[in-house]
């Protein structure tokens, strides 16, 4: 047994790729295992929520004028008299097969409802976060590099506005100005009415689907509809991202290695982007990931103002109708999004920070 073990010294200096590949596979397996466990925990929570809310799932099916016999028969057929553990097992099995139950409000399977509404939110949130990062990060870096100057002040005011202005107000004003008055952008909804349903849904992301279909009119229309709500979402995440970037940068710019870089005669632009910005990328990944996850929950305000058929809208409607299957299904999707973004950030850390690799 002991003879087969390689001494630690040899292992570290070994040149063959075999152990390294094995270690990588092991690490990937570990990641998958933690993801699976987290997801199971999430399922347990949604399951418990589904049991403790004071909504009778049987009544939701049979209606409140059913006879006692019908009620009992349905209850039995739904398996609600079985032990909780068995019910939970059944629930997990159903979810794994993509069955999230029927929605009372829409009369369709929750899974197919979510497949329709989640891409709408995903599309808007992704463009929103791209705007937030593309504008927010350089703004924060600039503010830190020119700390105390008028540039810094302007950026601070823009950031404060992002915190203080309510989303629905900005949405309404945006619609009045850019849609009703200037006619620069499309109005509410994802696409012009006469183009609705003209593009076959492949990914559910309208912009990509219309490119796949080669329908340029649809692409133009979809783009003109998404630009305003996505920009407003981007503005809110930008405010947060710029503020965090500024404070991370200021922390780095006070470090000794910044002095070292200046001692070497490195130009200021390189001091800022190479020496101060590189170390904060890990922290930024966290901030951007959280921001993105927040947007993916669906902004109810923006989705309502823009009649956007997204997950925020869907979840709110489901809650108001006591449509438990839909609520739990949407909660599950949002939870899964959080897990995915967290794991994604973890992987990026390792890529961006050499200290996290060892």
């Amino acid at each position: 047994m002991t003879q087969t073990l390689t001494p630690p010294g040899e292992k570290a200096g070994g040149q063959d790729a075999g152990p390294r590949v094995a270690r990588g596979l092991l690490a990937a397996g570990g990641v998958l295992l933690t993801v699976a466990l987290t997801f199971l925990g999430l399922l347990a929570i949604t399951f418990v929520i589904g049991r403790v809310v004071p909504i009778d799932p049987v009544l939701a099916v049979v209606g409140d004028r059913a006879s006692k016999e019908t009620y009992d028969a349905v209850r039995l057929s739904m398996g609600l008299d079985d032990p909780l553990l068995i019910q939970f097992g059944r629930y997990v099995g159903a979810v794994l097969q993509g069955d999230l139950g029927q929605s009372v409000a829409t009369g369709r399977a929750v899974a197919s409802d979510l497949a329709r509404v989640f891409p709408a939110t995903l599309e808007m949130a992704t463009i929103g976060i791209l705007i937030g990062v593309a504008v927010g990060v350089p703004m924060g870096v600039l503010a830190a590099a020119r700390q105390g100057s008028w540039v810094d002040q302007v950026i601070r005011v823009v950031g404060l506005a992002g915190y203080a202005i309510p989303a629905f107000w900005l949405g309404l004003v945006g619609l009045v100005l850019f849609y009703a008055k200037l006619r620069w952008v499309g109005g509410p909804g994802r696409i012009d009415l006469f183009l609705d349903g003209m593009v076959p849904a492949r990914t559910g992301l309208l912009l990509i689907d219309s490119v796949i279909a080669g329908n340029w009119a649809a692409l133009r229309s979809a783009a003109s509809h998404i630009v305003l709500p996505a920009t407003i979402l981007g503005f809110f995440s930008l405010a947060y991202i710029a503020r965090m970037t500024r404070s991370f940068m200021l922390e780095q710019l006070g470090q000794e290695f910044i002095t070292t870089a200046r001692v070497k005669g490195v130009p200021e632009r390189v001091v800022i982007w190479r020496h101060a910005f590189r170390p904060i990328r890990v922290q930024l990944v966290t901030v951007i990931g959280l921001s993105y996850a927040g947007l993916l929950e669906g902004s109810v305000m923006i989705e309502t103002v823009f009649s956007w058929p997204g997950i925020g809208n869907y979840l709110t409607t489901a809650l108001l109708n006591a449509d438990m299957n839909a609520v739990l299904g949407a909660t599950l999707v949002i939870g899964a999004v959080f897990i995915a973004i967290n794991k994604g950030s973890d992987l990026l850390y390792r890529l961006l920070d050499p200290r996290a690799r060892t």
Binding site: G265, V266, H275, R278, P354
Partner: protein, 283 residues
């Protein structure tokens, strides 16, 4: 030949309560291609002197001097761009603690190559060769491997040798070393100093060694300036440590512990007496 000539150097910072506080008050000295030590306690202005010479005091800090001449260049009139051309190429500075003074996310080789990147037009391959030479010059055995490491993967002593390599890669004329060994283990201090000393002598550079360690500076420097409260209180020539006369210097020497000493209490500086002496010296 004088490399650096400084007259009446003053560095000041604004006080939060208004007015300015001077941390360097009228420092004057000349430095040739020799080893000059600057000694003093914390807050005596020695580090600020080094940073002022490198042009690294950012506003609201203010640097003034009647004369600050580096090898024919008037540093007082130099633009930031002009300073940038000097820094790293003709003057450089070794900082105290490699744990903080090396960028944690950039490979050691790339950090050393940076001075070459912005001061020369060498190709990437030529830069790599120079980096290897510089690492060999600070007695690092396998320079190619070390160049690929990140700073957290090397020890403090090796980190400081990397720092020195980074500062001599372009063979500057003046090197300022600001407490270069204070953060290191006692066991590697002498080694790091010997490497630095060897480089300075062989390349005929001027060295300014800033430290609070009087004995160490006396061992490695030709001349010593003793600073107290932002001013030079005494200049000590070669081997003249015992002949030092200023009460501050005498106090520093007296408070050094000795191995064969049986005193239970070390003498401390008599600050009241020092304040009196200072008041007499100043008109």
């Amino acid at each position: 030949m004088t490399l650096l000539s400084v007259q009446d150097l003053r560095v000041s910072f604004p006080r939060p309560s208004g007015g300015r506080v001077e941390v360097v008050r009228g420092l004057s000295f000349d430095l040739g291609r020799e080893r000059l030590g600057i000694v003093g306690e914390s807050g005596s202005g020695k580090s600020m002197t080094g940073r002022a010479l490198m042009g690294l005091i950012a506003p609201p800090g203010r640097v003034t001097a009647q004369r600050m001449q580096f090898d024919g260049t008037d540093l007082t009139k130099l633009s930031e761009k002009g300073y940038r051309a000097l820094r790293g190429a003709r003057m450089s500075m070794v900082l105290q603690d490699p744990k903080f003074s090396l960028n944690p996310v950039i490979r050691i080789g790339d950090q050393i190559a940076e001075a070459l990147e912005f001061h020369t037009t060498l190709s990437a391959a030529a830069r790599r060769a120079k980096v290897r030479d510089a690492l060999e010059a600070v007695r690092i055995d396998d320079p190619d491997r070390v160049a690929r490491l990140f700073p957290h993967e090397v020890s403090g002593g090796m980190g400081q040798r990397v720092m020195i390599a980074m500062m001599v890669v372009l063979e500057p004329d003046l090197m300022i070393a600001d407490e270069p060994t204070s953060a290191l283990d006692v066991s590697v201090r002498e080694q790091v100093l010997a490497i630095m000393d060897d480089l300075v002598r062989r390349r005929g550079m001027g060295l300014m060694l800033i430290s609070h360690d009087l004995n160490m500076v006396a061992r490695w420097c030709d001349r010593i300036l003793v600073m107290f409260n932002g001013e030079v209180v005494e200049e000590i020539g070669p081997g003249g440590l015992q002949a030092a006369s200023h009460p501050y210097t005498r106090g520093l020497i007296a408070s050094l512990p000795k191995l064969d000493d049986t005193r239970t209490e070390l003498p401390v500086l008599d600050r009241a007496a020092l304040a009196r002496v200072n008041a007499e010296v100043r008109p």
